[in-house]
């Protein structure tokens, strides 16, 4: 709280400061402007200044852009081409201002243009991949959106894959991402609220929501938090996430991130906001609750039986990923009485000769698993696979043969790892990895009792946690029975006619009630 109040004051102070030092206006002299601009950008080598004369009076004009950020084809065809036609043209206004207006209104065949008046405008525009047209004698410039250059084309999402479903993943380009959302949601109510993020490097950030569906309070809260962001640069949406999340102490993700466009668009229709940042394919979805992180878009694409069973499987997987090593420790070292006699005896036999107590054994193996996981991700794909095989098979087998760990332990760890990967979201996987340690330590001390204590602690944490004002434990508690239709089970489509009630959407019906297109 205190931090936020502080920040608000700081922001206010900075705004005042900005207003005091007024931005330097452009000069009417072209040369002076260019010099000033060069000074501002420190004459980068990729800055292109194309000067040419125009009109009957041969007024000097220039087009400035940064090589690589613009689409050369557009600059060539739509600006230079047109203007060069003009050079030979006859009926051009003599006077510079009229000429400028004429050019702005008629000759530049680029859809997005605007007038810039200050050096900052110009510099920011150039840096964000726009081209600027200078005309000598004018205190304004024409800023033309010629963004282009090398960018990745739309590909399959990598982080979350489905068997059935749209293949369009977000890319680094914000415009492309917005167009993906537009294409998915063809409604006039889709709103994009734009922000500039970053003190030094200005990045565009867009908060998308569907007006008339979303609860306006959520949009307000999201805006408030985004406005409070104070960073130099936001290279990835993770920066934004960490700035605007409710509790930085929590191991649970309070904002979902995805690179799937279908997931984002369905979140929009549920009454959530999607935050897109230029330069990253990962968009943020907020607010989310506990149940959301175990959902996959595919649950809805397949028939409800499959969706429901997969959901249940995922809850089971979450349980295994969290508790299995802890349960192993508890059962083997503290409560062997709980195991069936045959199993207890066979575990005892397999542990015969293992030098470490089960606790140490489990800790060793879980650390090994974490190492393998990390090594597998960081290395290039082919080597990563090798690491998986070498680590998983060779080390596991060798450790058993050498009698350092028992075979049962290897099974436990293998199951845990598989279960952890069965979750659709990577970030919840990390959460599970953290909490797993809690369970293991507690199990080592108190056995099952410790496991329950940790479980209670996690629950206490969850009921106190909120995502943008919505309790994280919704709809389990506060219990919203209507939302249970799409939680552990995924009810048949025909029954899912309401939006999630916990988001208190303005329009709670998600189904078109047979309104005729008249």
């Amino acid at each position: 709280m205190v931090r936020r109040v502080f920040k608000r004051q700081k922001i206010k102070a900075r705004q005042e400061e900005n207003q005091q030092s007024k931005p330097s206006k452009l000069d009417s002299n072209l040369e002076a402007n260019i010099q000033q601009l060069k000074k501002l950008l420190d004459e980068p080598s990729d800055l292109v200044i194309r000067e040419f004369q125009i009109g009957e009076n041969d007024i000097t004009s220039a087009i400035i852009y940064i090589d690589g950020l613009i689409d050369k084809q557009i600059v060539q065809d739509s600006i230079l081409g047109n203007l060069q036609d003009l050079i030979s043209g006859q009926h051009l206004p003599q006077e510079s201002t009229e000429l400028f207006q004429k050019i702005f209104q008629t000759f530049i065949s680029i859809s997005t243009t605007e007038i810039g008046n200050t050096h900052d405008d110009v510099a920011n525009a150039i840096l964000s991949g726009k081209s600027v047209f200078f005309l000598d004698g004018q205190q304004s410039v024409i800023i033309m959106d010629t963004k282009g250059g090398e960018s990745r084309s739309i590909q399959q999402p990598v982080a979350e894959t489905v068997v059935r479903g749209p293949r369009a993943g977000f890319v680094e380009n914000l415009g492309t991402n917005l167009s993906l959302l537009r294409r998915a949601l063809q409604t006039s109510d889709l709103r994009f609220k734009a922000y500039q993020i970053g003190e030094r490097s200005k990045k565009s950030l867009v908060v998308a929501y569907v007006d008339g569906v979303i609860n306006p309070a959520i949009v307000k809260e999201v805006s408030r938090r985004i406005e409070s962001i104070e960073i130099d640069d936001a290279p990835e949406s993770g920066f934004i996430e960490q700035w605007i999340e409710d509790s930085f102490l929590s191991p649970f993700p309070q904002i979902d991130s995805t690179d799937r466009s279908d997931k984002a668009s369905s979140a929009l229709l549920q009454g959530k906001v999607v935050i897109l940042l230029d330069g990253t394919p990962f968009v943020l979805i907020a607010p989310i609750v506990l149940g959301d992180i175990l959902k996959s878009p595919e649950d809805y694409y397949e028939r409800w039986w499959i969706g429901t069973l997969l959901r249940m499987l995922r809850y089971l997987a979450a349980f295994i990923a969290l508790m299995l090593p802890g349960l192993y420790i508890a059962l083997v070292s503290i409560h062997p009485g709980l195991l069936p006699t045959e199993l207890a005896l066979s575990i005892a036999a397999s542990r015969e000769g293992v030098p470490f107590p089960p606790v140490v054994e489990a800790f060793l193996m879980v650390i090994t698993m974490e190492l393998l996981q990390e090594a597998g991700i960081r290395l290039p794909t082919p080597i990563g696979q090798t690491i998986g095989i070498v680590g998983g098979l060779v080390i596991g087998e060798a450790a058993v043969t050498a009698g350092i760990v028992s075979p049962i332990m290897v099974i436990v760890i293998g199951l845990t790892a598989i279960a952890a990967f069965a979750n659709p979201s990577f970030s919840i996987g990390i959460t599970f990895r953290i909490i797993r340690w809690g369970f293991m330590i507690a199990a080592a001390i108190f056995g099952l009792y410790g496991i329950v204590l940790v479980y209670i602690i996690i629950n206490i944490h969850i009921v106190n946690l909120k995502s943008f004002g919505i309790p994280y434990s919704t709809p389990f508690a506060p219990n919203i029975a209507g939302d249970w239709k799409d939680l552990v089970i995924r009810a048949p489509m025909t029954m899912l006619t309401k939006r999630p009630r916990f988001l208190a959407p303005k329009d709670s019906n998600s189904a078109n009630k047979g309104v005729k297109d008249s």
Partner: protein
């Protein structure tokens, strides 16, 4: 605010962590005691209530049990029996534990074998059971059997397919009711209930023979004198199970039209109705209903006609009635112990009469022995197999 609590919380947690894990004992360091045998010590004094006992514990040796990775155990035995003598069972158990390098672990205890000798000494059986009922480690599902002869010998039986004698006995007890209907496994929890209500009950009686376990019948434990007073034969045991309405499944061999015929019980249940107007003249009706099939015949019976079926049913009914009557007679005349739980029934349905005579039921005036018991058996034969005839 929450943050500060977090800190405090973590500090305390660390404190607890540093002090270590009290109950953590590696599973392989535990000695799994899976069977126990209780005998009277050879040269102990046998008078008074503090008789000297010998307790034999069977501790599993997991390495000898041959797991896939262990490579078959390599000639090692799967168990070890350790005996010690003393007065208190708990005390002896600790003595036994002292003889092994493992921590004794009772939660997987499966069977307790008590020698007939121990059970015949008044009060001793109940006293011996106390520690098993009281202790939190031993669960209520442990089977208790009586052994003819030395109890510890039974823990030395080693059948070819099973490395753990206790587990062998446990499995046999578990399934015997479904095989022959002669052996009702009694759990320690049941014994607790019997002892609390001072009722008489029947325990399975076994003996070791040729490296096999052999059922001898049932030992009858009399509630008021608190000792084993006699026994039921195997056939009487079947009658006993049928009267008390256990889920018996077993063969009944009858003579049907001069040919030996085996009938198998698939479902059995019983109903007891008591007319208790006068304590001195109590009439007990036992209705046993059987359902089953013909499994074997030496004759050429063809169960096509209703009359044939009825005849077979009657033959089986008569046979079962005979068995049941034998059991009742043994209980009433020989043992004078109400093992069938008629007293319990009286208490439930004729509470006032019961209050008058509860001290004279199967003790004192012994109204039980003088009551009339009528057994009615209703048999149904469901099928006679997949063929009509096997021979002409």
């Amino acid at each position: 605010m929450i943050k500060r609590v977090h800190k405090l919380f973590i500090c305390c947690l660390v404190l607890i962590l540093l002090s270590g894990c009290w109950d953590g004992i590696s599973i392989e360091e535990r000695g799994f005691i899976i069977g126990m045998a209780i005998d009277v010590a050879k040269d102990g004094n046998k008078n008074g209530s503090n008789d000297e006992l010998t307790l034999t514990s069977q501790i599993a040796v997991p390495a000898g049990l041959g797991t896939p990775s262990g490579g078959g155990g390599g000639g090692q035995k799967g168990y070890m029996n350790i005996s010690a003598s003393g007065i208190s069972i708990y005390d002896i158990a600790q003595d036994v534990a002292n003889q092994t390098n493992k921590m004794p672990f009772f939660e997987h205890l499966k069977v307790i074998i008590v020698s007939e000798e121990v059970a015949s000494i008044p009060e001793l059986f109940a006293n011996v059971m106390d520690v098993f009922i009281r202790n939190r480690d031993t669960h209520r599902g442990i089977y208790v059997v009586i052994s003819k002869g030395k109890a510890m010998d039974i823990l030395d039986i080693q059948p070819e397919n099973e490395q753990l004698p206790a587990r062998y006995i446990d499995k046999i007890l578990e399934n015997s009711l479904r095989k022959t209907g002669e052996m009702k496994p009694v759990r320690i929890g049941d014994i607790h209930e019997y002892l609390l209500t001072e009722s008489s009950f029947v325990l399975s009686e076994v003996a070791a023979k040729n490296n096999r376990i052999n059922f001898e019948g049932g030992s009858v434990f009399k509630g008021d004198s608190s000792k084993v007073i006699g026994s039921l034969s195997l056939e009487e045991m079947l009658g006993y199970e049928l009267i008390t309405g256990q889920e018996v499944r077993g063969p009944v061999v009858v003579d049907f039209k001069g040919h030996l015929t085996a009938y198998s019980i698939r479902e059995a249940n019983s109903k007891i109705k008591i007319k208790a107007k006068d304590p001195k003249n109590i009439e007990i009706d036992v209705i046993i209903k059987l359902e089953g099939e013909m499994q074997e015949t030496f004759g050429t019976v063809k169960l096509q006609k209703t009359s044939e079926v009825e005849a077979l049913e009657k033959a089986v009914s008569d046979k079962v009635k005979e068995i049941a009557n034998k059991s009742i007679e043994q209980a009433q005349k020989e043992l004078k112990a109400d093992v069938f739980g008629f007293g319990d029934n009286l208490k439930k349905f004729h509470y006032e009469t019961w209050e008058q005579m509860k001290d004279n039921w199967d003790k004192g005036d012994n109204y039980f022995s003088n009551s009339t018991v009528n057994v009615t058996v209703k048999t149904e034969v469901r099928s006679d197999g997949v063929i009509y005839k096997s021979k002409e």
